[in-house]
Symmetry: C2
Subunit: 263 residues, 2 copies
């Protein structure tokens, strides 16, 4: 293990994981040189680890010699039960919400200090929305994030504030006091609104999928619309209804339909 001798502070495992971490959300392929630069690994080490990952299927190497995340990692990632159970419970309600609004509909959970998208529904009639499943969002600047934060353990608010509240647009709530009030309002009416706080021109309305004791958000559902057609009075109750349906469905064990596994 020559790499280990040269880099005594890093285990082999951590270097394998560093190779996977090197791929960002918008990367369509990394050359070996880019992989070395991002991981700090020596070319021989990076090449060997990448080759093992390619053989396993976690990475793919194209005709252009660039590495990409492979379908084996997609397959394993889909086995995250935090995702699967929620997504299966929520999907029918996301579909209904999409059919009613024909706007972009999202499902997210909280992962530490971020919201992470699990699912997204969009149609040919919805506005183009670059947000994708697997993307991470800040908690304080999105409807989704505020719905999750409003129904989380109370210390989380202080942690988020301590980390700082980055500004994304002139409308981002960067003051702890304003954010605190927005969260209280979210708890009051059962849904959160973020008006151009993360990106200009869009409004998101989000409701928490609550645990059976109604104290914690297991997930959140949001609709993202152009600010020109944001009708909060109409969207709020629709999103809330979808989130309540998903919560009820999630707490009940799924029924298996008669033999419809075929594709």
């Amino acid at each position: 293990m020559p790499g280990q001798i040269r880099e005594p502070g890093r285990t082999v495992t951590s270097r394998v994981l560093a190779v996977l971490d090197a791929f960002g959300p918008d990367d369509t392929g990394l050359s070996l040189a880019e992989l070395c630069r991002r991981t700090g690994l020596a070319p021989s080490t990076a090449h060997r680890l990448a080759a093992e990952l390619v053989e396993w299927g976690g990475l793919e190497r194209g005709d252009d010699q660039r590495y990409r995340i492979g379908l084996r990692l997609f397959e394993i990632g889909m086995r995250a039960p935090g995702r699967r159970g929620l997504m299966e419970a929520a999907r029918p309600f996301l579909e209904d919400l999409y059919e009613v609004t024909h706007e972009n509909v999202h499902l997210a959970v909280r992962d530490g200090h971020h919201a992470i998208y699990l699912d997204k529904i969009t149609g040919v009639r919805a506005v183009g929305a670059p947000a994708r499943a697997g993307d991470r969002l800040p908690l304080h600047a999105t409807g989704m994030g505020k719905a999750l934060l409003a129904f989380a353990r109370p210390e989380l608010f202080a942690e988020i504030v301590r980390e700082g509240l980055p500004r994304y647009t002139p409308h981002t709530l960067t003051s702890p006091e304003l954010l605190r009030r927005a969260l209280a309002r979210t708890r009051e009416r059962g849904f959160a609104v973020a008006a151009q706080e993360y990106s200009l021109g869009t409004v998101s309305v989000a409701a928490p999928v609550l645990s059976a004791d109604r104290r914690h958000a297991l997930a959140a559902i949001s609709v993202v619309v152009h600010s020109s057609r944001a009708n909060i009075d109409r969207l709020g109750p629709a999103v809330r209804t979808a989130a309540m349906g998903a919560a009820r469905h999630f707490s009940r064990p799924a029924e298996d339909g008669p033999g419809t596994r075929g594709g």
Copy 2:
């Protein structure tokens, strides 16, 4: 690295990957003992590797001390570009197909000798369908698989036949000659049908999402219905239209809508 001395034939990387491989599609959590049994690793090695994976976020360990696939792996898996680009191109057409049929709609790609589900749309009105994104399906026994196989390099057929054509129901095409004819018919009419060939009671109708030169399937789209309501004359053209729309959309670079990344 005591594990390495005891198991000289396995690299550390292969053991990390064996830990990930241990999680099957239906596992909701593995104990350390189960992890050892499935990977063949010594408890100390399995525990150390799992702890590193937990710290990274690729595994999660619940209050019940069982390991689960974590959201970090979901996040990275979603970065597989083979999935993302196709899914984004296909999603609006899957939605339309769902709105027209209100049946289970799927998107899959071929990964070696299997079809792997990328996406699935289902609603409260569709029959329960245990098939999920990330699942693997045999090529010869599903509509999805036959659509992919009919538009693949010709040698693939021989490879699949050589591996054997397992029987799932009395209707599975286990004869190479019958399968060859079904694939010819699929190429002729532009869509494949599998009638109770993978599970009794369901029929799937699938069409390939073809490359620009129309010679290879990049993916396939299917609708799965109860055999009692399988109207092939109606479903075939609908699925084909959706697949053609996705193909056209995929070959065109995606437009970014005006600032709708917010959640």
